[in-house]
C-alpha cells in the first residue's frame, strides 16, 4: 500500500514536471525540493543503518584492488565499467570544450528527449527512481 502510494506520487510529480514549461519557476522549485528531500531522507534512513563505516569500506576496497587477480572476471568487468564511465565523462568534456554542432554533449543528446513533455516526464521518473534506489538501497535491516 505504501509502495503503491509512493509510485502514484512519483508518477503524478513526473507528469507535472513534464508538462510544466521547462523554464518556469515551478519546474525548478520542484526539482530543488526533490533534491533537498532526498538528501534529508538519506540522512534519516541512513542513521544507524549503513552497512559499513567509510574507513572499513575504503580498507576493503583497497584490499580488493591490490588482490585483483583473486577474482579476475569480477576485476575485469569492474575495469570495463570504469572505462565506460571514463569514456562518457571524457567525451562529454571534450565535446563541451569544442562547443560545436558536430560534437553534441550528453545533456544535449538527452535534451533531444526532454524537450517533449512526455519525454521530460519519463526521464524525470527515471531520475526519481534512481534517487530512491540511492537513498534506500543497501541498508542494514537489523537494529
Amino acid at each position: 500500500m505504501k509502495r503503491a502510494l509512493a509510485v502514484g506520487v512519483a508518477v503524478a510529480l513526473s507528469l507535472l514536471e513534464g508538462f510544466w514549461p521547462q523554464q518556469s519557476a515551478a519546474a525548478h522549485w520542484s526539482v530543488g525540493a526533490v533534491i533537498v528531500l532526498a538528501l534529508l531522507a538519506a540522512v534519516l534512513a541512513g542513521r544507524g543503518h549503513q552497512r559499513s563505516s567509510t574507513r572499513n569500506w575504503a580498507r576493503s576496497s583497497r584490499r580488493a584492488v591490490s588482490h585483483w587477480w583473486a577474482h579476475p572476471i569480477r576485476s575485469g568487468s569492474v575495469a570495463l565499467w570504469v572505462l565506460v564511465l571514463a569514456a562518457t565523462a571524457g567525451w562529454d568534456a571534450y565535446s563541451f570544450s569544442h562547443q560545436s554542432d558536430r560534437l553534441p554533449t550528453l545533456s544535449r543528446v538527452i535534451g533531444g528527449i526532454t524537450r517533449y513533455p512526455l519525454g521530460r516526464a519519463g526521464v524525470f521518473a527515471l531520475w526519481l527512481a534512481l534517487g530512491a534506489v540511492i537513498v534506500l538501497a543497501e541498508r542494514r535491516t537489523d537494529p
Binding site: T54, S77, W81, R102
Partner: protein
C-alpha cells in the same frame, strides 16, 4: 568517413552510439553471466558506506539540476 549528409548523424553522435552499445553489451553480458559485475553491482558497492552514498547522491543531484533546470 562522415555519415552526416545521409543520416543527420554527426561525429559526436557516432561516439555516443558506440559508448551506448558498449554499455548495453556489458549490461547484457552481466545479465547472462552472473560472475560479471553489473552497473547495479558497482552502484551497490558505492552505497555500502556513507562516503560512497554521499558521492553518488551529490552526482545524482547535480545531474538532475543540470538536466531539468539548466538545459535550454
Amino acid at each position: 568517413m562522415s555519415l552526416a549528409p545521409l543520416t543527420g548523424v554527426v561525429l559526436g553522435d557516432q561516439v555516443w552510439i558506440a559508448i551506448a552499445i558498449a554499455a548495453a553489451l556489458g549490461l547484457a553480458a552481466s545479465q547472462r553471466w552472473r560472475r560479471i559485475t553489473s552497473p547495479w553491482g558497482v552502484l551497490r558497492w558505492f552505497l555500502q558506506s556513507w562516503a560512497g552514498r554521499a558521492f553518488v547522491l551529490v552526482a545524482w543531484s547535480i545531474a538532475g539540476w543540470h538536466l531539468f533546470c539548466q538545459r535550454p
